[in-house]
């Protein structure tokens, strides 16, 4: 078991190193950030000075090492635009993204899990057909378009909800719906297939043979086991939603890390962009590591493969 954990940990570190190198190179290939600042009449000496000030005159390997140092110290470097440590900007915005991700996760669970269970228990009835239809629509409707339509209906026509920004609960409703919609569909699908698998297993047949009522079999026996993968997915999804909500945050002008990143990309704010992406990488690699270790703990077969 220890060997497994150590190996997985090493893999994760390598993964993060490759990720940081990838992002380091890509942001530099998007162009020179100084040229965005310089007005038409800027003197070459001034541009030179800014280059030096931002450390862009150094060679790439040197810049990369200082980027890694900044990660280790936790400051993540200093933003070109805001002239503040990236970590400060990041943690200012993170609570907003967490709120959005958490509410969207709750929506996806509240919609996906009950619908998935009903769909599996009443398999091949019209309940099942409706649930499968909802799942299909969920995977086919682009989240950002759903956001626009929600604005049209609830802000423009009904005037119930504010179009954008952050404030009280009314600001959270539409972005979290637009974000959670797709994930609700994937939760529904997984709950359904997981329930079907468990319902067909030997121990459920035995429970039924014992003469236990259907409700007890489903609620006490099947439910618990079928939901292990479902809640794993919910956890992973939440981390993804916190980090990948760029387009939704842009549409609803939600002050989360996605919009911070979006603005950073267009301003070529290298330290900001690198910092936000590396933090996202940390979270995603971290949750995957936790899931892997937990599963290996539960199921010894996983430990032995690969």
């Amino acid at each position: 078991m220890w060997q497994f954990i150590v190996r997985r940990l090493l893999y994760s570190i390598v993964t993060l190193l490759i990720l940081s190198a990838t992002i380091f190179v890509i942001v530099r290939l998007t162009g020179d950030p100084v040229s965005l600042l310089a007005e038409a009449g800027a003197r070459p000496e001034d541009l030179e000075r800014i280059h030096r000030q931002w450390g862009l005159d150094r060679s790439w390997p040197v810049q990369y090492v200082s980027f890694l140092q900044n990660i280790v110290t936790g400051e993540l470097g200093k933003s070109f635009n805001y002239r503040l440590p990236v970590s400060e900007l990041y943690f200012q915005r993170l609570p907003n993204s967490l709120t959005l991700g958490l509410v969207a996760t709750l929506i996806s669970i509240l919609v996906g899990v009950p619908a998935g269970i009903i769909s599996a228990v009443k398999v091949n009835t019209w309940w099942d057909t409706i649930a499968k239809g909802v799942a299909l629509l969920g995977l086919s409707i682009p989240g950002f378009w759903l956001g626009l339509v929600l604005i049209l209906v609830f802000s423009v026509w009904l005037r119930w909800l504010p179009t954008s920004g952050a404030g009280d609960w009314r600001h959270v409703v539409m972005p979290s719906l637009a974000l959670g919609w797709y994930f609700a569909a994937s939760m529904l699908r997984l709950t359904r297939s997981s329930m079907l698998e468990v319902l067909g297993s030997e121990y459920i047949k035995l429970a039924r043979l014992k003469g236990l009522p259907d409700v007890v079999v489903i609620a006490m026996h099947a439910f618990k086991n079928a939901l292990i993968p479902v809640f794993t997915l919910a956890g992973v999804n939440m981390v993804v939603m916190v980090n990948a909500a760029v387009i939704i945050e842009v549409i609803f002008a939600w002050p989360g890390i996605g919009r911070l990143l979006y603005e950073g990309i267009f301003n070529r704010d290298f330290p900001l962009v690198q910092g936000v992406v590396v933090m996202a990488g940390f979270m995603i690699v971290g949750i995957n590591l936790i899931v892997d270790i937990l599963y290996a703990f539960i199921d010894p077969r996983i430990r032995l493969t690969r």
């Binding site: 893999y11 390598v14 993964t15 993060l16 190193l17 490759i18 990720l19 990838t22 992002i23 890509i26 942001v27 290939l29 998007t30 299909l136 629509l137 995977l139 086919s140 409707i141 682009p142 950002f144 378009w145 626009l148 339509v149 604005i151 049209l152 802000s155 423009v156 026509w157 179009t163 297939s193 698998e197 993804v240 980090n243 990948a244 760029v246 387009i247 842009v250 549409i251 990143l261 979006y262 990309i265 267009f266 992406v277 996202a280 990488g281 995603i284 690699v285 995957n288």
Partner: protein
Amino acid sequence: MRAVIEAAREAPLVPVAILGGLMLVAILADLIAPHDPTLPVKGANVFDPPFWMEGGRTTTLLGTDFQGRDVLSRLIHGARVSLIVGLMGTLVAGGIGTAMGILSGYVGRWVDQVIMRVTDAWLALPALVFAIFLATMVGPSMWNIVFVLGAVYWTRYARVIRGEVLTLREREFVKLAEIAGASKLRVIKRHILPNVMNTATVLASLTIGVVIIAEASLSFLGVGVPPPQPAWGLMLAEARPTLMAGQWWLTVFPGLCILLIVLATQLFGDWLRVRLDPQLRNL
């Protein structure tokens, strides 16, 4: 030939009809579209509503946009962009991913390690964020987007195909071919590739929709297909500043088109999955 006819007979009618229809529309766009999609319609105003509403006219059936261009014509031409990017992007992603997966699974050792660690790292980058980066790097154009999305989505294939190859490698027909002296390249071409094609096809059918939505997202954010080219995502972006004014047709119709095409590919993919690979049914 008989297999093709048999497959055609069993193919699900609705998605095939939708996809076939859309392809026809995309190919014949120049003939079908009532107006030039990039120029204002003569005699029409900006923001004319669809024909059934007050102020709408039958020359511009689905209304006009902020420049007085015909929405229907732009939708028709937009089908071309979505289909080309969806199909070609998937082809690029599938090509790279299948090659990498086979290499990783069959050659093994350090090649496997390198490819899998890169795959892990790239999968840890949120797909759309990664795509925005690459798109700002190469600049907005339809063909650039094809390669950007190919570069982002190949990792999913590589993982799955590698897993398949790992079991195939131990099968007897592969071992026998190796003992008989077949070169690695020959084993891959004759024995490995044909056996992973089903999986690759199923994955492709499920990726097309994802790629089409990704293209629309990039175009919406201004890093995808550049104006004045008619693309559905771009139309949504152009409609956004006036969303509050209630010109709903500019937002609703392009989105419905995306929904329709993705829905059709999903249905088709589901059918293909059940048909080609029973083990993937729960994927």
